[in-house]
Symmetry: C2
Subunit: 201 residues, 2 copies
DNA sequence: GTCTATAGGTGGATAGAC
DNA sequence: GTCTATCCACCTATAGAC
């Protein structure tokens, strides 16, 4: 959790690897890249993560943990389903601001080439997103704040698919604005305004 | 164009490379993979495509040509904007049926790592999609068949982003049905029913 | 146009000293 | 925990015979 702590090498390795996967893909970086960024040799990396597959597995696990914590934080902060969805989109936008792709979106592209444990991790991430979104959507529908005809699960999947795709394409144009435009359209279709959070004052 | 023609080696190479990129990514295959599939040596590949970057460039160019031809075929067959959009979705679904990702969607994930000419080609592909969709959407709106509040360009971008993302995620689940569910939801939001084509007679 | 042979580099991974 | 040294498989690319 502490990027600046020089003692915590494993976390520094994960930080570097995470950035590299999100930027270049799992097949687009090497141990040499991480070694240079962290400032140790390739050989030393194997002490912390015996194989690249094991490093990849750890990477997804940490990403999922952090993501789920962020979702819990949203639930703690917002009572409103519409506010929650807006903050959910902000979570994606924050990743894109560093010109990164969602870790699991990137891995989804390379899915076929991944070792089995990583494949399972990627699906688990999407499943967790779907679960949280479904609940949030259902909550909003019951409160007559969100409006949609399909099942909450189907809409949740559409949101995941579309937001991941919006990140994917936005990176080719180097345009976070393009991502936000698509995100706004999607939320608008559900009845969520794009302006600042609804305040009850 | 003729997969079975044994004389047309360049096309066979492109066919193999296209499949490999769509399945594994540009950084996820090698000349050895193509050589095996086509049945010639690695060295012979360089006679047809001097470098991997040049092969990638040719790949995108052919893909774009075929795609634009498919769009022209849709325009020739359908008068109706709703029918055109349904056929557009079918174009994507057809790619996914072979468990492939859209070539340029895959390359968008690896965008940062691509040689410059390939980057330009990927953008051109998305731009062509946007142009065709914008026109089709505008046509449908004028005919009061499609309904949307945003600009045709913004909706076109949302459709591209969302369909690419739906392909991306669907591949992790090995589920074409998931792609189709998202595609149907998107079209439904524009007022396009998911049932068979509208027939006038 | 396709081959053999090979160059020159980089991939992940290991052994063993410190 | 980190290092040096090294292995071997694989990468893209080239030279030159056929």
């Amino acid at each position: 959790m502490d990027t600046a702590n020089p003692g915590n090498t494993a976390q520094q390795i994960l930080n570097a690897a995470e950035r590299l996967v999100q930027m270049h893909g799992f097949n687009g970086f090497s141990y040499a890249d991480i070694a240079q960024e962290v400032g140790i040799t390739k050989a030393s990396l194997h002490y912390h993560f015996s194989t690249k597959a094991e490093l990849g597995r750890s990477l997804i696990a940490r990403y999922q943990d952090n993501f789920c914590a962020a979702l819990a934080a949203i639930d703690a902060e917002d009572a409103d389903a519409a506010d929650k969805l807006r903050d959910y989109v902000r979570l994606y936008a924050k990743v894109l601001r560093d010109k990164r792709m969602c870790l699991c979106g990137m891995l989804a592209a390379e899915f076929i080439t991944l070792p089995q444990p990583m494949k399972a991790g990627v699906k688990k991430f999407f499943d967790a997103n779907e679960h949280w979104l479904s609940q949030t959507l259902e909550q909003g529908r019951k409160a007559k704040q969100l409006h949609f005809a399909a099942s909450a699960t189907d809409v949740a999947r559409t949101l995941i698919d579309s937001l991941e795709g919006a990140m994917l394409v936005a990176r080719s144009y180097g345009s976070a604005a393009r991502f936000l435009a698509t995100a706004d359209w999607l939320l608008a279709e559900l009845g969520v305004g794009t302006a600042a959070k609804t305040r009850r004052a």
